[in-house]
Subunit: 210 residues, 2 copies
């Protein structure tokens, strides 16, 4: 077998191929869409990505101020680059396993992700919220913002599925806050992770204009 | 806003929609493809999924014997249902952060996922290996099997990307061991997780014929 094993060579070759797929995107959005295509192997993501004009600047402010990143599920939390967040003093939180969250979700018949996002977002003005899995968590966050109970600086919202995900993402686009999303039924935790890691790369390489 | 918040109702509605997309698949493979489409929001996965005829039975043997599940990355490890693996006494391992793995990868210029899979797979005959991210990890596992140095019972191999992923997955199909994969560039940790969780559901509901 003949295959590339060296991490830097694989990365370079992959980014060369993806660079051709994402040729028309302006920088630094090109970094974001490149990471999403890299994480999914799905070139159609180029058509589905939607980035608010203030999104990258908002992310840079979150990082510069050492605010939190809040995630809906553990897969998103563990996928975000731990060395890079540690380097800039940003912590990543997920409340889905907290006993109070588990208890409330069970008692009220709600998804745990939804209760977890509410628990953290109400206390975290200026943070970044990354929702990769649960449409209910994104709906809940939108409701909290509209009610004046949460003020995230940026919402990375890429929940997945056939029940409410596409609608929740359209509602996110109309909300009026900085967002990054992918339209339609596709998405998932790997997509949310790739967007947050792209934002960290943009910030750490000084492209973020902030 | 009007949306479903009750976990069981969302699940039922989603599975009803997905059931229509996966109508022609026989059971229990239908459970697997349903979970993959649920996790990705991508109906094209129906065409890409490839399941070896002995794969489900092999998974059930892994679970019945309390063998390990080995993963390439942490996102796969944390996504696999902890309550269900605990219930049947199966442990999920990922060596990517072990100091010896980090050191060897750096010294030899290899990917950490590749070294991590080798470290675990050589000591784990009869286990399930789930590779969701790194084509290099799947190539390495195939090489170890061909050299008689690893004997997994089942390989769930869904690495993603434009450099070596599709080729590694075709090599997996030709290897001669039970496998589950998705052809082409698509895949990722969420896909690997959804396949392993589907196998746990099949086993726990007694559909696995083992």
């Amino acid at each position: 077998m003949n295959f590339l094993t060296e991490p830097q060579m694989i990365e370079a070759k992959s980014m060369e191929i993806i660079g051709q797929l994402t040729g028309n995107f302006p920088s630094p959005e090109k970094e974001i869409i490149g990471r999403v295509v890299h994480a999914t192997g799905d070139p159609e993501m180029v058509e589905l990505l939607a980035v608010h004009p203030e999104a990258v600047r908002a992310a840079c402010r979150v990082f510069a101020r050492g605010k939190k990143i809040i995630t809906d599920v553990k897969m998103v939390k563990v996928g975000i680059s731990a060395p890079k967040t540690a380097q800039i003093g940003v912590r990543v939180h997920c409340a889905i396993d907290e006993p109070a969250v588990v208890k409330e979700a069970k008692e009220k018949g709600l998804t745990r992700a939804m209760v977890a996002i509410r628990t953290l977002a109400e206390q975290s003005a200026g943070s970044m919220v990354a929702i990769g899995n649960a449409p209910t968590a994104l709906w809940e966050l939108i409701r909290l913002v509209q009610a004046g109970r949460a003020e995230p600086a940026l919402i990375v919202g890429t929940p997945v599925g056939f029940v409410g995900a596409a609608e929740a993402k359209e509602a996110l686009i109309r909300l009026g806050l900085p967002y990054i999303t992918v339209r339609g039924t596709k998405g998932g935790s790997a997509v949310a992770v790739s967007i947050v890691n792209a934002l960290l790369n943009i910030y750490l390489s000084g492209q973020g204009d902030c």
